[in-house]
């Protein structure tokens, strides 16, 4: 009997079938990886399995029992536990409180906290997850929060776990630990469905690997028989130009003035705690500088400072021009954009897109008052349409419908939309600030974005590539600067080993 069985699942959004007749099962004791491009239907499939979406056709069975469609509670009760990309935790509460929230053990009319705490601690220990059950969630790292989510599902009696892109938020060392945990859970007899983009991880952790493409199941192979090359081919649609690995060399300007100079930069984070504490570095025109570091070491604030969203103290110069002060180019986002600074923000939904507006409107956002999007005070509708179609074709935005709403696109296509607008929508940028630009993207889309970043650099921009993914930094950056605790912990060439970068990321001298 399969732990989880999906049979003939079809889910349409409007006219598009996001999942189109997928049949797939996870056995008890195995890890089934599901890989695929953005928009291939992975997250939709997870949604159907958990009862978040009601399928248009097909059935979901957990441990042989058919689930009523569109009923998340029934899925949980049947023994299905899902850890989503966005954690559903209450930050001020303790770990054990978060785990039992909603189904607290009671004694008479009161919460039986002793029992709850003990049970949570036992659940964590039995599955080998190290967790301080009394810690408050708001003080935990992302990796620890993820462990809380896993323990929550285990404590609720999940026999089948679905992990939706669990590694996209983790640092390299944490990824290895998670993969070990996943193996241990399977060894304990649970079925695990592991959704990921990263083929290397999938090959390391899975027993079987399923490939989705455009909503259909393309193949299911045993991990022992799969190779990264063959998987990559299966994942990518035939039209993808998989071979064009961009390899340009940086062309540092000969002048002594760097494109971007940051000296002794200080600023606070949104909660008023110091986030940048004396950061200094420089980037030349034509160079891609990778910014590495464990999440929360000042990367987000650096991106905000450079794009005018946050006021720092220190020195900020763009080709020698002052960025700070009432006339500086970093005084507000409008001024930063006028000075040629573009931004691929971390938070696509909130910061990069107006989800209710159309694709062409979103593509013009930020450039809306200039040609070809506008003529004098008017919107140049034919010009905007032409430019939008051109951008969507270049970045393979799917569907390339200028009047579709941005909120209806898949996450990966939304990111392509943002990349197209920022890198190609306006004049040649002088500085590109790209924060996790390929997070959640498939291989093909990630290459596209990297190539676009590269070509922006080749066109004379200084590119800051902020990422948690060392493979990405190695592939795309000319130099890697490691941030630790709001300062530059050190710098390394892209050839540096995981170990040496890892030491810098933990604040130890290289």
């Amino acid at each position: 009997m399969s732990a989880l069985e999906l049979r003939g699942i079809v889910k349409r959004f409007g006219e598009v079938a996001a999942v189109d007749g997928v049949t797939l099962s996870v056995r008890a004791g195995e890890v089934l990886a599901v890989v695929g491009e953005n928009g291939a239907g992975k997250t939709t499939l997870v949604g159907v399995a958990c009862g978040l979406y009601r399928a248009d056709a097909g059935t979901v069975r957990v441990l042989g029992r058919e689930l009523p469609p569109g009923d998340p509670r029934a899925a949980i009760e049947a023994g299905l536990g899902a850890v989503h990309q966005h954690f559903m935790l209450v930050p001020p509460l303790r770990v054990w409180e978060n785990v039992v929230l909603g189904r607290e053990p009671r004694r008479l009319f009161a919460l039986d906290s002793a029992r709850a705490r003990r049970e949570v601690a036992e659940s964590a220990e039995r599955s080998g997850l190290s967790l301080d059950v009394d810690a408050r969630v708001e003080g935990l790292s992302v990796a620890a929060q993820q462990r809380v989510e896993i323990v929550k599902q285990l404590w609720r009696g999940a026999r089948v776990l679905i992990l939706d892109e669990p590694t996209s938020v983790l640092a390299p060392g944490e990824i290895d630990e998670l993969l070990r945990t996943v193996r241990a859970l399977a060894a304990g007899g649970r079925g695990v469905m592991f959704i990921s983009h990263k083929l290397r991880e999938v090959l390391a952790v899975a027993d079987r690997i399923a490939v989705l493409r455009r909503g259909r199941l393309v193949q299911v192979t045993a991990a022992s028989e799969a190779s990264a090359v063959q998987l990559a081919e299966a994942v990518m649609s035939a039209s993808e130009d998989w071979s064009s690995t961009p390899t340009s060399t940086p062309t540092p300007s000969s002048s002594s003035l760097p494109r971007l100079l940051v000296r002794d930069l200080h600023c606070d984070d949104a909660r008023g705690r110091p986030a940048l504490r004396g950061l200094s570095f420089r980037v030349e025109a034509g160079e891609v500088l990778g910014i590495a570091g464990v999440d929360g070491n000042g990367q987000s604030e650096l991106a905000e400072v450079l794009t005018g969203l946050r006021r720092p103290r220190g020195v900020l110069e763009l080709d020698g021009q002052q960025g700070l002060g009432p006339r500086g180019w970093a005084r507000n986002p409008g001024a930063a954009r006028k000075s040629g600074i573009v931004h691929l923000p971390e938070d696509r939904h909130g910061r990069a897109l107006c989800l209710p507006l159309t694709l062409e409107e979103n593509l013009s956002l930020g450039w809306q008052a200039r040609a070809p999007y506008a003529r004098a005070a008017l919107i140049d509708r034919p010009g905007r349409r032409r430019k939008a179609e051109e951008l969507m074709a270049e970045f393979r935005v799917h569907p390339p419908a200028p009047l579709a709403r941005a909120g209806d696109l898949s996450g990966g296509n939304q990111q392509k939309l943002v990349a197209a607008r920022e890198l190609r929508g306006g004049p040649q940028p002088r500085v590109v600030v790209a924060a996790h630009p390929t997070r959640g993207l498939d291989v093909g889309a990630a290459r596209l974005v990297h190539a676009a970043l590269r070509s922006a650099a080749a066109g004379g921009a200084a590119v800051l590539l902020i990422s948690l993914d060392l493979d990405e930094l190695r592939a795309a950056a000319d130099r890697i600067l490691v941030l630790y605790d709001g300062r530059a912990a050190g710098e390394a060439p892209p050839t540096a080993s995981d170990e040496s970068l890892g030491r810098l990321m933990l604040g130890q001298a290289a």
Binding site: G70, T307, N332, P333, R337, R351, C354, G366, I379
Partner: protein, 361 residues
Amino acid sequence: MTPRDRLFSAARDPVWAAALAVLTALAISFVVVLASGKNAALGLAYLFEGAFGGPGPLGETAVKSGVLILTGLSVAVAFTVGLFNIGGEGQLIWGALAAAVAGRALDLPAPLLVPAALIAAAVAGAAWGFIPGVLKMYRGVHEVISTILLNWIAIHLVHGWLVAGPLAARGSGSSVSMAGTDPIRAAAWLPRPIPGSRLDLGLPVALACAAAVWFLLTRMWLGFEWRAVGAGAVAAQASGIATRLRVCQAMALSGALSGLAGGLLVLGTEHRYPGVFRTGYGFDGIAVALIGGATAPGVVAAGFVFGAVRAGATRLQLVGIHPSFAELIQGIAVLLVAAPRLFAPLLIRLRALSRAPGAPP
């Protein structure tokens, strides 16, 4: 979608959803009339006659529609930047007072005086609308609270002090019967081109405003920036749009439209600022914008419908039905537009129950 978006979402559904809501509201209202033992068929006939039966009724419909379209546009424009302007009534009062003062004080020929008085009305309304915008963007005061409070400030400042004191009519001998300001000059009266009809320039002015608002929001990049702020303020700001400025601008235009509505009422109907001037048109604008889906064409359509209902409702007294019947219809229509959203969770649950029996417990 925020709850507020849902309120205004009639435009995203087919137009007939709003039309159906209005028709159903009419039907329900007449069932109510039947239940109260009145002659509903005759009432319906009177309603139509009062709204469309000849130049007189058509003029009434036009005058009321013009004002409703303007206050509806006012709410719709504020909603474009994501603000809920409940302050139409206060903005309308200041606009009316400004028109009354300008129409009395300025000694100009009619072709100049009428536009001057209307501009004064728009400027006064804009100033009153600008305040909640500034309070919201720079002090974080929620616009629903500030606009409601500003309504009361306007009502009491104007009625309790200005119109009763400094601006009270002086020329008349029997001042008791003539509360309010001095009458405006005859040159400031809105021309009535059709004899026997109160049809005046108000409706053309309102339609021109609707066309201008439509053009601004859909054809100009300034309007696009407003919509971007309403659709995602954080993204709009990050893209370099001056969100605070845009919100204040939109609130000023919103106030100007309500102020203009007040100006039309004074120049076209009252010909002075009366002692007490509580029209309710500022609040009716909210209903018009809701049913019109907060778009300019929708507001024009909804404004016409409710203008006609209001004009026709005056005749309902002939069969013993109170003219506030118009408000009943309006209220039910708003409920019905919001109803699919109100009842959606219930429907989903019912559907789940009807499918569930096959599933194991």
